[in-house]
Amino acid sequence: MTPVHVTIENVSRRGFLKGIIATGGLVVAAEFLPARAALAAYATGAEKMPGGVVTDPHVFVSIDPSGLVTIVAHRAEMGTGSRTSLPMVVAEELDADWSRVRVKQSPGDEKKYGNQNTDGSRSMRHFIQPMRQCGAAARLMLETAAAQRWGVDVAEVQTQNHEVVHKSSGRKLGYGDLAAAASALPTPSPDQIKLKDEASFRYLGKGNVQIVDLFDITTGRAVYGIDAKQPGMKYAAIARPAVLGGKLASYDGTAAMKVPGVEKIVVIEGTPPPAKFQPLGGVAVIARNTWAAIQGRDALKINWDDGPHGAYDSAAYKAQLEETASKPCKVVRNDGDADKALASAAKTVSAEYYIPHLAHASMEPPSATVRVADGKCEAWAAVQSPGNTQEELAQKLGLKREDVTVNVTLLGGGFGRKSKCDFVLEAALLSREMGGAPVKVVWTREDDIQHDYLHTVSLERIDAGLDQQGRVVAWRHRSVAPTIAAIFTADPKHESAGELGMGLIDVPFDIPNLRCENGEAEAHTRIGWFRSVSNIPHGFAVQSFAAELAHAMGRDPKEVLLELIGPPRIVDPRKSQNVEAFPNYGDPFETYPIDTARLRRAVELVADKAEWGRKLPPRHGQGIAVHRSFLSYVATVVEVAVDEKGGLSVPRVDTAIDCGFAANPERIYSQIEGAAVMGLSLARYGEISFKNGRVEQSNFDGFQVIRIDESPPITHVHIVPNGIDVPSSGVGEPGVPPFAPALCNAIFAATGKRIRRLPIGDQLAT
């Protein structure tokens, strides 16, 4: 039996009721041990994530006597809309009136809330079912409370927009009237709960709910990590070693201490790589305001001992990657005999693609405020993984997990950077040094770009063989790139199974002799998850090469792409030789197989909507690409115009996405529109390069991103319609990978110039 602890407490709502007149009074809240039993129509990998899944409405839902429903958002908000969309799922099943729903952000606590790592395009995919169950359980509790009040059977009552109605008599009770009695009830078991019929959905799948922070964002009231303010707060800026593993040799802080407002200089010990999420170390200047801290930091005179990575040079590294890819590498998937088929092919086609490091460059750089005092730690931070941040802080400070509170602010963009809590740990160490005063650490843009956990750099080489009839009979893809695993283990040399399974070994092509290889590559900087991760280089190579094959055959790229994909079927990489593991983004293959029918449908849909093959003005071209990532299928057609001087513009983008059931179409549109902009940014300008172990770029001049005048004026988003029975899959990331190859395929169509090295930069200049 589940122990039950019911408490009645006066919950302050000022943190999430800004600008809204709240009714006063008691909020009835109950604390139960989380019920983990799942009412799932299909299996996901959610249970295997740290913290797993929690569905208990006592954890997520509270209702005050006025009927105001508060729903906890346990995942971070960085722009995808999950802070709105997941509570919306609860509200749907609760049959709540959305205008009487408030959202409260949970602190980091995965034991209580389940997994909180807002990464990997997992929020809706892993939590649509648990949040439906949560809302439906709460609805049943309200119905049960009403039935008990009226002395009738619960089957005789039903909810109707924030009220429970007795069907035969028409009697009604509002949710506020029932909250206290309902909260005292035990959580219904999954077999008692009945989910709503899809036909009765009012919010789910409709796109009629606006993000809960919309008013605050447009009025400057929304609070991000950088906006945290605590009494007695100090401000810190940190000089970090420019080279991975670099150490502080000596420093002179005399000039820094003379900067008005500077109070203290503190050395932070670095951790030798692999350092996971540990701070880089360096010298911190603590001051009375941000400006003084930055001025003081810039006045430090520091000598660094660079160590072995001081020779990292991007040009030399690229040559090394090319050398590695020129020879046989570790075979990571094998069907048939690609070498033999290549040797006997009537025609061979080969190409090498280079995709450089990228910086996340979220508009809000990493920022956190932390207070460490009296054996407790409290943080206010823009983190994608508050649960992990809580664990890391506890470990670093030698505190118990429950003595660490991580308050999650809005994130001014994340893109994977803010999954790593190094910047929060920095602030914690500094607060301790300041005797427990809260310390805010702000990374400047230069800090952000020069000390990021960068997207990998990669060399992709593909060789294909055609037979006499022009059919592709051999495919050999060599991928060489330093791995994210290098931040966790020493010298892993090869891409991890997760990275290999992002568009390399899961290539869905119908080719009898198909081999994937992975070369050794050493990491000389921190490599981290960047929106879409290894799908960017793998997808760029595979989808560019598909169009190169079409050109070699003298055929239409879309037709060749469909031919490569082959007939509708399930492609299971685990059935090929040499595949050690295929994690499938952490989700069961049976729930989310690689279904070429869906891949084909995305291609057909986008081609139809974009009017593929229509007559275009001179110097215009269309390009197409399709890629499955994060369990969703996305196809893009980009139209470009390239003027006589090589000036590039993108007059139109069409993207089709099949992400299973589309829970919040409005936010899916915005994610895909944004993916086109990020895809264009990385294709045109995105490059972080190293010289002498140091990043050569430092701000938005050296690391350029797309601005409004270069942005596609319109991205048409076409969502493949699916019922609730089709498992929801990723949305935040899958829009990015097909963009760059579709763009470069369009450039080829317009100009005959094939781009194999990103960024495009001045390669089109004539």
Binding site: E77, M78, G79, T80, G81, Q210, L214, F215, I217, T218, T219, G220, R221, A222, Y224, I226, D227, Y235, P260, G261, N289, T290, W291, A292, I294, A361, S362, M363, E364, P365, L410, G412, G413, G414, V442, T444, R445, E446, E666, S670, E673, G674, A675, A676, V677, M678, S681, N699, F700, D701, V705, I706, R707, I708, D709, S711, P712, P713, I714, T715
Partner: protein
């Protein structure tokens, strides 16, 4: 001592007069709606109005605004209902939202002088404001909507 008006209120600052207005607004006055993005006028996240004109607070020393009038996102409209703010909400412009205060201030300054801007005028006025989430097509649409009252 630097005296200035911020959102209609007189303020006096006796700190470092070379401190950028951005940090004065954020750290000293608590107007955190104005955001840091680059520190060198490359991204527009810190855009405010100085005497009605859009300016980058990150490169404007406090001493340069002595005797002048600064408006931040918090002061754009007492109820948050400037036509640009309303259009932003109607068209669901923001994703993460971090750059949006700067975008809105830039757009409001544009519409104050150019009642019905062309696409070229919108691009010209807004190209200093970066949105990493990529909300640009909705920004353009919202400016048009605010201009036409649609």
């Amino acid at each position: 001592m630097v005296k200035l008006h911020v959102n209609g209120q007189e303020q006096a600052f006796d700190g470092d007069p070379t401190m950028p207005l951005l940090w004065y607004l954020r750290d000293e006055l608590g107007f955190t709606g104005t955001k840091y993005g680059c520190g060198v006028a490359l991204c527009g996240a810190c855009t405010v109005h100085i005497d009605g004109e859009a300016a980058r607070a990150c490169i404007t020393p406090v001493k340069d605004v002595a005797g002048r009038s600064v408006t931040t996102i918090e002061g754009l409209d007492p109820n948050g209902n400037h036509p640009v703010q309303k259009a932003w909400r109607t068209l669901n412009v923001p994703q993460c939202g971090y750059c949006q205060a700067g975008q809105i201030m830039q757009a409001a300054a544009l519409l104050a002088t150019t009642k019905n801007p062309s696409e070229a005028e919108i691009n010209d006025a807004m190209s200093g404001n970066i949105c990493r989430c990529g909300c640009y097509q909705r920004i353009t649409a919202a400016i048009r909507a605010a201009a036409t009252g649609a």
